[in-house]
């Protein structure tokens, strides 16, 4: 597994670097003034037009093709409880609820240019790169990083706790199922500061329902912080004519001195 980690890391870094070069060389004109450039949508909660229509594309071997720049995620980044499937509810362990009440916005790892972890999204586009053995999710932000998904792989017995965890992927018909463990407990699920523990186990289900839209369901199982698993659902929209651009959050993060308040919605 260590070898596959190394190979994956090197490959991902190479792809990420190549992608950035392409992005910077081939980035489209940034658009003409107010609002999204032609063909773009802003995404968001029902704002703007839906993505382009048409059938979901497939790769030459018939596998669903998830490529493209996307905006969106499988959970509500403001309050994860708002994305619950009907009938679901979040019941926190008392210590987790108490911790959440003490959290302040300026301590949010995302505000400090640290990763959002899983499943929290950020308001920047991302891209899936599919290779036969590894899938990569390249993020423009919140940090300019990537997740790697080991296709048909196995989790290590005792993974080091990390921000994105260890992810394996399989296809269930036309849905990419990503199973992740080995998370650290540092990232927040949302702006409100819903916590989690290293016992976190997530199952994400990505389904490209048509050319311009993807549904993302995420089952969250963390018996350390919640009394039972729950599932959130969200969607992503294709961002036509969009390339990922460089985004180095640590460059000039000078605002936090003014963000002195309890953790709250955006």
């Amino acid at each position: 597994m260590r070898k596959s980690f190394l190979i994956g890391t090197v490959l991902a870094a190479t792809i990420a670097a190549a992608s950035l070069v392409v992005a910077q060389d081939a980035a489209p004109a940034p658009g003409g003034g107010k609002g999204p450039a032609k063909g773009q949508t802003r995404g968001g909660k029902g704002r703007g037009p839906a993505g382009p229509t048409g059938p979901a594309p497939r790769m030459s071997d018939g596998t669903p093709d998830l490529s493209g720049a996307w905006m969106g995620s499988g959970s509500n980044s403001g309050d994860i409880s708002k994305g619950l499937k009907p009938g679901e509810q979040i019941i926190m362990q008392p210590w987790a609820e108490a911790l959440m009440k003490t959290r302040k916005s300026q301590d949010d790892p995302e505000a400090n240019c640290l990763p959002t972890g899983v499943p929290r999204g950020a308001p920047y586009p991302w891209r899936i790169v599919q290779t036969p053995t590894h899938y990569f999710i390249l993020f423009e932000g919140n940090i300019h990083s990537f997740r790697q998904i080991f296709m048909n792989g196995k989790h290590p017995d005792d993974p080091d706790p990390t921000w994105y965890g260890h992810s394996t992927g399989t296809w269930n018909k036309d849905t990419l199922v990503v199973d992740s463990v080995g998370f650290n407990d540092k990232f927040w699920f949302d702006y409100l500061g819903h916590p989690h523990t290293e016992k976190l186990h997530t199952i994400e289900r990505y389904t490209r329902t048509d050319l311009g839209n993807m549904t993302i369901d995420v089952t969250i199982d963390d018996p350390g912080a919640y009394t039972k698993p729950f599932t959130t659902t969200g969607r992503a929209r294709l961002q036509p004519n969009t390339e990922l651009l460089e985004y180095i959050c640590q460059e000039n993060n000078i605002d936090l001195v003014h963000v002195n308040a309890p953790a709250q919605l955006p």
């Binding site: 450039a37 999204g121 985004y247 605002d255 003014h258």
Partner: protein
């Protein structure tokens, strides 16, 4: 430049249209979007940087006292996608800015609209809405 001490209590409709959206930190924790201020000043610096672009203006009140304002924008990437360039503002530009002021009372704000002296209006300040949910 005269400081224009107009704290505008925006109407609900205006609020809905102009409420800045989430960036990488909570907007609501930093700024009071219910109180808009209007500032007329001279740009002293424009930082085309991540995670947010910023520009700084000097605002002179009627008594001649100069206030040094720090005004936050969205990320350069999202601004580029909405028509901005790193040349959209420059040192010496005279601007009228409508902004939400920081709750801590410092000379800090989140710019909402910028009117330049040549009539150019820069309007896309905020980051895009949070990721989709249903």
């Amino acid at each position: 430049m005269k400081f224009m001490p107009s704290i505008v209590m925006a109407g609900a409709g205006l609020l809905l249209m102009s409420l800045p959206m989430a960036a990488h930190h909570s907007f609501a924790a930093e700024y009071d979007s219910t109180k808009k201020i209007e500032l007329k000043g001279v740009v002293t610096k424009f930082e085309w940087t991540n995670p947010h672009a910023h520009f700084y203006i000097d605002v002179t009140d009627p008594a001649g006292k100069v206030e040094h304002w720090n005004l936050e924008l969205a990320s350069p990437n999202m601004m580029q996608r909405n028509g901005w360039t790193r040349h959209s503002l420059k040192e010496g530009d005279i601007v009228v800015v409508v902004a939400a002021r920081a709750k801590d009372g410092t000379w800090t704000g989140s710019a909402d609209t910028i009117q330049k002296s040549d009539g150019t209006k820069l309007t896309f300040m905020a980051a895009p809405p949070p990721p989709d949910v249903k």
